[in-house]
Symmetry: C2
Subunit: 233 residues, 2 copies
Amino acid sequence: MNPDRQCMSDAIRDSLTSRIFDGTLKPGDRLVELEIAREFDTSQTPVREALRELESLRLVDSAPYRGTWVRGISDREMVEAYAVRGVLEQLAAELAAPRLKGDVAEIRESLALIHESARAGDIEGYAKHNLDFHRGIVLASDNEVLIQSFDRLAFEARVRLHLRSQHEPRLIERAREHDEPVDALERGDGVTAGRLLRKHTESCKQRWLDRSLTTELDTSIPERQPVNASYLS
Amino acid sequence: MNPDRQCMSDAIRDSLTSRIFDGTLKPGDRLVELEIAREFDTSQTPVREALRELESLRLVDSAPYRGTWVRGISDREMVEAYAVRGVLEQLAAELAAPRLKGDVAEIRESLALIHESARAGDIEGYAKHNLDFHRGIVLASDNEVLIQSFDRLAFEARVRLHLRSQHEPRLIERAREHDEPVDALERGDGVTAGRLLRKHTESCKQRWLDRSLTTELDTSIPERQPVNASYLS
DNA sequence: CACAGGCTCATTATCGATAATATACAGGTG
DNA sequence: CACCTGTATATTATCGATAATGAGCCTGTG
């Protein structure tokens, strides 16, 4: 948000964020203020601020006098988020098309990387470039509020959290779904691009639904680790 | 977010929020931590937390060691927000229709109050019930993520901030734009309701654009009051 | 007069300590 | 043995004080 903040609390926030992203911190894990403060060789105050920021990003939950813990994301929420993302991206494409004037070079770059990752079977890379691709279109809309709304969905965190549990994703096939929207954007047809992108999002959502129905495992959200969980380690 | 927090920082946050809403605090006004702390007879810490929350709600801006001030909302941002709100509401209507099963009693209640306020020329009331109406449809979508995204647009704050400067708004005429979407919802036609709602939002946006072009006054955003502004009072 | 450098002061960022609260556990009771 | 009650403890919420920083001012120079 403010990229130029140099205070301790921001460093802590960023560090904790990446731990949540990379799975070091799992849903339900408790974040104990003084413990983190010791680790960063600082006091409780900046840690609290960092935690509150994470809460506003919905990466953690907290309750008064009960602490803070990593937020789990249910399949239901994932599906809800896909629905919202769909219309946001549709709008983004419609706004982006007249602005781009056919110059989709940057977007094509991300697209190429998506295909590359798909061929290599690199799930991590696929997720990253996929996000770059979609966010690129949103950025091209030049609508600050839209960009914010999109970012707040925190798709990176959501997807990464579930990546590990993914079976054999047909990456190459999925990657192809991105081609047509870009073609439409290139010829300035934002409406079509938007419709295609939304359809793409819908199919992502559907895949998620299917998977969550078939695998049947832990659709529950870890609520919070018990207090003495840290003693076990 | 967590309605059951009883800590000081939340009370401060709520108090400051309503001051921003009701115009006691104007864009550009500085929020000095110790000053607020004295007022609430508390220390700096809870005030800081409150300010950070307001920042995440984008009601205030801040920079390190430079403080916090009420955020202005430009006409451009307002227009951007309308565009996003349009697609969010459209989606909401589509999702709400099958859930409501024609039961639009609650929504009609808000609608009646809108018309009533319009007849009475009660701009404040109109704004309130109008928001209730639109939010009611979003709530009926039963999509938590969508509700969050909508709320984050903070339309209440945005609209109220500009209400005072509004000329003769043709409220009665505007109120009528809400009728058709409700009819559509009642007969379960979410797609039509969504399209109409989006069109409504577009016309709100357009009115805003027209007004901001014709009035030509202070399209600028107050950045921040100078440090010694408080001495003048 | 425009402008750079250094000084002062208001304010933020952080600290270490204390008050307040929830959780876990022990003991008693039916 | 299940259940309640009270107590110990871990942890959060808040406090008052200090360190760090930026804004404004003053001075001197060209």
